[in-house]
Amino acid sequence: MPTTDAILEVRGLSKTFPGVKALQDVDFTLKKGEIHALMGQNGAGKSTLIKVITGLYKKDGGEMLLDGKPFECDSPEEAPKIGISTVYQEVNLIPNLSVAENIYLGRQPMRFGAIDWKTLNRNAAEAIKKLDLDIDVTQPVSSYSIAIQQLVAITRALDVKARILILDEPTSSLDAAETARLFDVLRKLKSEGIGIVFVTHFLGQVYDISDVITVLRNGRLVGVKSVDELPRLALIEMMLGKSADEVECVEKGAGEAGDAVDAECFLRVQGLGRRGAIRPFDMEIHKGEVLGLAGLLGSGRTEIARLLFGVDKAQEGRIFVKGQEARLTSPRKAISLGFALCPEDRKSEGIIADLTVRENIVLALQARTGIFRRLSPKKQEEIVDRYIKALDIKTSSPEQKVGDLSGGNQQKVIVARWLASNPDFLILDEPTRGIDVGAKAEIENLILHLSREGMAVLFISSELAEVIECSGRVAVLRDRVKVAELPREAINESNIMKAIAQTEGQ
């Protein structure tokens, strides 16, 4: 699409990592004063594309043009100099330094060979005001909320006279009001002729703000459409690569198994709470039941999982396991009560990447039996073979490093690890995040299967459809408060959304 007002053009870009073709022959064009949404599932290649443009990765092939002239950044230091600024999903600021300094790091105003702190602070205060923020710029950035930090990061990005602004999932930690404010800023920038690349997972926001949508899938370009031409369903189909009907391959009717309110109560929680994590809440989970936890990111879902597993200690409330009061002081204690946790952050809290599939699977059971009763190699092999087969873990051998497996298979290894130690209560925190559609369905089926065999399951997921599909009951969280509990017959998307939205009005 050769156009006269295109500022950034990418043609036939490819990038390969060992074993993965992250980008293959991708085209991308950004025009002046355009908000361009970049969409795709996890692993589609959005982040890679951005990182190649900003010079964090080197391209393997293709060309990139800025104002029609070829360019390539050797390092992220160069991108801002040619007018490309980026704000990343994780707020990338230096927590200990002041807001003002964070805005001007690397380009502080100098006077007589020294940093001119007065001018710096004054300029920063002015720049911050442009975004309708009124904060003390001399305070450390870490003393402000994540939302404000995100706006500070944007202030920094804009201050370099950026012509291209790349926003990589800037709204994932913002609430509705904060997002609205950000969008006002974006519209203002757009009217000033800045080209904006906007990466997000939230469909609604794409339709609110963007003009054009580029969809990637598995490192390839699927299509470029203007927003008006692309209805939501079509967009989802482009992202998933299949029609919506096909996606729902989870066994229908299986949900009944997740409904076992009459069965013996396994875990009862009374007024459990921790300051800064979750307000006191009550909860009951029965044997053979799947309890879903729905809520936005940061609503306290993971915090509940951590409290129940003894990672964080509750400051108030009581816990009863099978009718007996229990104190959860450490993960070890929770495990001894039959709890298991598949944590949200798979890489840093779940798998041990350097160890083999076999070792990862037997570790939890081994920790339970103790140091001196080592499982015999034969026993280990038996267990590992059983779970590799049962969960269909795709690995070349049990002795392969877990770090070399795909995300979905890593998740299965973590599940296998706990199944091997035969827990009564399984907490799954975002077990399907970042894994492909097929593996997702398998894990959902597995959850239902386990609950049918009598296991109590706490299932946390950002994807409402999943929660609805698998859960016998759903607890809804908002802003670190448990706001509702929906029984089986009331579980549907609109009820959950209403429960989340209700308190928002208050």
Binding site: L341, S348, E349, I351, D354, E359, Q366, A367, I371
Partner: protein
């Protein structure tokens, strides 16, 4: 005994190949240039020869390397081993001659061997407990936590001997450093026993697996119910125990406690041995590799000595060897190297 094929992974064998080649090269050098390098003699039922000598001299390094290996595998490091060696020696010597530092030349009542050995080793364990507690419970970086004891510990050793070199005669104790058992010098026997104990402890129980898990991902290990903190403390205590034993051997061998120089720079030798052996900083460990590493270090030292170069200068060689091995293991280095090679090849063709 059932044999687990998993023990003999290609990964592990491959790791040992390069250290073995290096050791072999040094040995070949010696065979050519040092006459009688391979000669072994049996005198009075005791083995003598250059090889035995290297093993005997290398015993302290090998012992400390065993301990350092497990600490290194948990993602830690122990700089205090040299100081612990000095403390162990100082305590042992002071027990034998309690009043020597006050200028009393006469020995008191002959201290029983159990006390002479037991008390220093208990103190060594205490030192390890201190290190481990700082790392595991207080959360101080291992390098700093053990640096405190590295310097202050030598100060403590100096205090015990009041800055003097305590010389002594104590027949039973001298057996540890200078005696023979089954025709072999006792230090070699001690190393062999410690190796066996370590093998049984780490590979015949789940301890080895737990150490690797804790080193590779402490958080995930904790979430699995592994007592990561206890394991870390145990490794530091084990390392200090090894250092303590090494300290007794050194002290018994020279029949004196020298708080200033005993075990000085030994931490470098041990760390070098561990790195050369292929143990990961936080993750997989191989005691066998560390032993090969220790032998390389010791053979190198002996070789340099027989060439007539001052022993202190070996520091330079050792430092260079470590940095080379660390570079070869560094992924970034390999990438740059292969990248350059590919480029020059492309340029030539």
């Amino acid at each position: 005994m059932s044999f687990n094929p998993a023990c003999l992974k290609n990964e592990n064998l491959g790791k040992l190949v390069w250290p073995l080649v290096a050791l072999f090269a040094i040995v070949v050098f010696n065979v050519i240039f040092t006459p009688g390098f391979f000669n072994l003699e049996i005198k009075d039922g005791r083995l003598f020869g250059s090889l035995i000598d290297i093993l005997n001299r290398g015993a302290p390094v090998m012992l400390v390397s065993i301990g350092m290996t497990v600490v290194y595998a948990t993602g830690g490091i122990d700089l205090s081993v040299g100081a612990v060696i000095a403390i162990a020696g100082a305590v042992a010597a002071t027990i034998i001659r309690p009043d020597y530092v006050k200028g009393v030349i006469e020995y008191g009542e002959m201290a029983p061997l159990v006390t002479v050995i037991g008390v220093p080793l208990l103190l060594a364990l205490l030192a390890g407990l201190w290190n481990g507690a700082l790392v595991a419970y207080v959360g101080i970086q291992p390098i700093i936590a053990t640096l405190i004891l590295m310097v202050a510990g030598r100060g403590i050793a100096q205090l015990i001997t009041e800055g003097k070199i305590v010389v002594f005669i104590h027949e039973p104790f001298q057996f540890i450093g200078g005696g023979f058992l089954l025709g072999l010098p006792v230090p070699i026997v001690i190393v062999a026993v410690m190796l066996l104990v370590t093998y049984l402890l780490t590979r015949k129980t789940a301890l080895g697996l737990f150490i690797e898990a804790v080193g590779a991902n402490p958080k995930a290990s904790q979430y699995m119910g592994i007592r990561a903190q206890l394991i870390k403390i145990a490794t530091y205590m084990f390392c200090a125990l090894c250092a303590g034993i090494a300290g007794l051997i050194i002290c018994s061998d020279i029949k004196a406690a020298d708080a200033n120089n005993a075990g000085l720079f030994l931490e470098l030798d041990a760390i070098a041995a561990v790195i050369i052996g292929g143990t990961m900083w936080g993750g997989r460990f191989t005691v066998a590799g560390s032993m090969i590493g220790a032998l390389i270090i010791q053979t190198l030292t002996t070789t340099i000595l027989t060439r007539g170069i001052a022993p202190e200068v070996t520091l330079v060689f050792k430092a260079l060897v470590i940095i080379c091995v660390a570079l070869i293991q560094s992924e970034a280095f390999r990438k740059i190297l292969t990248g350059r090679l590919a480029k020059t090849e492309a340029g030539q063709s």
